[in-house]
Symmetry: none
Subunit: 195 residues, 4 copies
DNA sequence: TATGAATGAGAGTTCATTCAT
DNA sequence: TATGAATGAACTCTCATTCAT
């Protein structure tokens, strides 16, 4: 089955927005990458912002699916779920990784524009995470705080837009995942080791 | 002493870049806010990017000073230093807060452009933080990892650009500082409570 | 009999061109109003201009018919014919009035584009009017000038595109028709009353 | 004294809008005609519509001045004033004539956009004309109707946008002016000859 | 006949930058 | 030092038109 034009555009947009950013990516660049004319972009999307929003919604949906899949597993602990999630995201293949890159890179624009639906999606992701956190609290593995707040903090670390904080330091993806997991779980204090 | 034109421009730029971002702030906007002509901007700065870079260097220098002042205190522990730093940044007055806002909001652009000097500054900040971490390790309050990596992680949380993750949730600044401090120190696991 | 597609398009075009104008009416708008696709427009008409021209020809034919019907009446004077015509046009029902509106609003574009056939139609209308004028001259009711010129002047007043000069002033259509008739017949001087 | 850039742009715009119309005249065309870059247009005018509006206001002001100059003459009758006005407009030199052309050609757009100030101007012109009509009524040369309505009718004939109704028929400008004056004063009936 | 996806030329507009004064 | 007028490249977006189905 041939790929739809809209799909090709979205794919090209994902690529361009991940390499550059919302402002440095022009509609002409996306059109060229997708191999269609500029006009075609506007047949499928009302505006650049609309295209971006749709792409973000798709990206959010992807993560919601990933998060939910892990969250719904009934046979593993909350901590194991968190570890799995972090590994999934950090070790994501090139293609999927771009989606995270866009979300990280352009996170600031999300909340400023295209509010409504996007904020809903964000809330949905947080809720899923909060569910895991709640489970962790029940299991006495996670401290007894507001699950919502803790989920937000975890999310902020996972989608940290600082380019790639540790990528330069820890080349190995497994090492990265472990470091992030350790940091989220225990912070930097020694307390963990007191145990 | 009357404020220098260059100073007025920089101040106006800080304001504009913190309210908007690098791309949505135009030279005209900065000029107007500063009360000078666009031409004057170009007498003091070679380009928009140069102006932005200089501003970022100034912002970095500000934080280096703040960080160093705290780091150099000889009578308090590393953990106390970290708490002090987080409080200083989270509870910064409106004016100083803008600087953090720029750094957070435009963090992604920093590493892509204006590399050289800026990366040096970043490294300098990390080094100061790493010094505190080292002290903490010596004091057995911080886990025995790579101080450099730990410092980067701490920094990423402090300058997290996700708008304001918790601002909407925790209105009280002291509460915010405590939450961030707790998160950095202990993560989300229960082990922290053993302490 | 179901209305033909072409007829539906023409009707939609009449509506759109009367509400907006040639340039602010897009093919997409006409297609939507007609309930057909843009492609269909191009099956029935070679181009936007062609569609417009055809519409104008239809409009002209309508007025030719109206004018001729009145002109051919054998039992009334030229002056009565003129009065009848003006009433017919001014008091035309909403639907017919649109046709006049297009002619008035877009008159300027007629002579610049789509010349040939349209100018013939215009000439035909003028000839019919000139015929009435000639009758009036014979009847010594209209001054002895060039009937062609006088017909043009009358037409220009009737199809005056100044939005609706008097519509705002004279709400009553009969009043409007009387004013226009009076103006065409006697101008603004008192002479008529001298008689 | 060198002509100002803004003046050059306005002049170029007058030319282009008189030869073409609002929609078929592009900013690029005006810029080229004026010998400046497109960007310069936007230094002097906020938008195409703004430029057009300013031009229309200037055109209206020109006619207000012309009308007032004639209206204020204390030694001639209202009828003589009207004749003078018509001659002034019909026989206007090429350059001034363009202004009338724009007003006639784009009259329809005037009332749709740029309302406020422009409608005031129109009203001002009508008032001046109405003043002349009032004088005519007092002198018993003009019929005793609503001066405002009569003025509108006169204006509509003078600024009739039907391309140039009589231009093709009456090449001689004096002849044109006489015909229009005759038409406005006496219409087409024979009564005029009683005078 | 009819559709709707695709095109591409060109529209209005913005903005970092330059430069004569 | 400072100005503001001018530039031109690039931008987002529109729309008459085409064409495979």
């Amino acid at each position: 089955m041939a790929e739809s034009t809209k799909g090709r555009i979205l794919k090209a947009a994902v690529y361009m927005f991940s390499v550059y950013n919302y402002y440095t990516t022009s509609m002409a660049m996306i059109a060229e990458k997708a191999g269609v004319s500029k006009g075609t972009l506007y047949w499928h999307f009302a505006s650049k912002e609309e295209l971006f929003r749709e792409l973000l919604v798709k990206a959010a949906d992807y993560f919601i699916k990933v998060f939910k899949t892990t969250a719904q597993k009934s046979d593993i602990s909350a901590v194991e779920k968190l570890y799995e999630l972090i590994k999934l995201i950090v070790e994501a293949p090139e293609k999927k990784y771009r989606i995270k890159s866009i979300l990280s890179k352009n996170a600031q624009f999300i909340s400023q524009k295209s509010k409504e639906k996007l904020l809903e999606k964000r809330e949905e992701i947080i809720e899923v995470l909060a569910g895991i956190v709640k489970q962790g609290i029940k299991e006495k593995a996670i401290q007894d705080g507001d699950p919502h707040q803790l989920a937000i903090a975890v999310l902020a670390v996972i989608f940290n837009p600082h380019g790639s904080w540790l990528i330069d330091e820890l080349r190995d993806k497994e090492e990265q995942a472990n470091f992030i997991f350790g940091f989220i779980m225990n912070g930097i204090s020694t307390k963990g080791e007191l145990k």
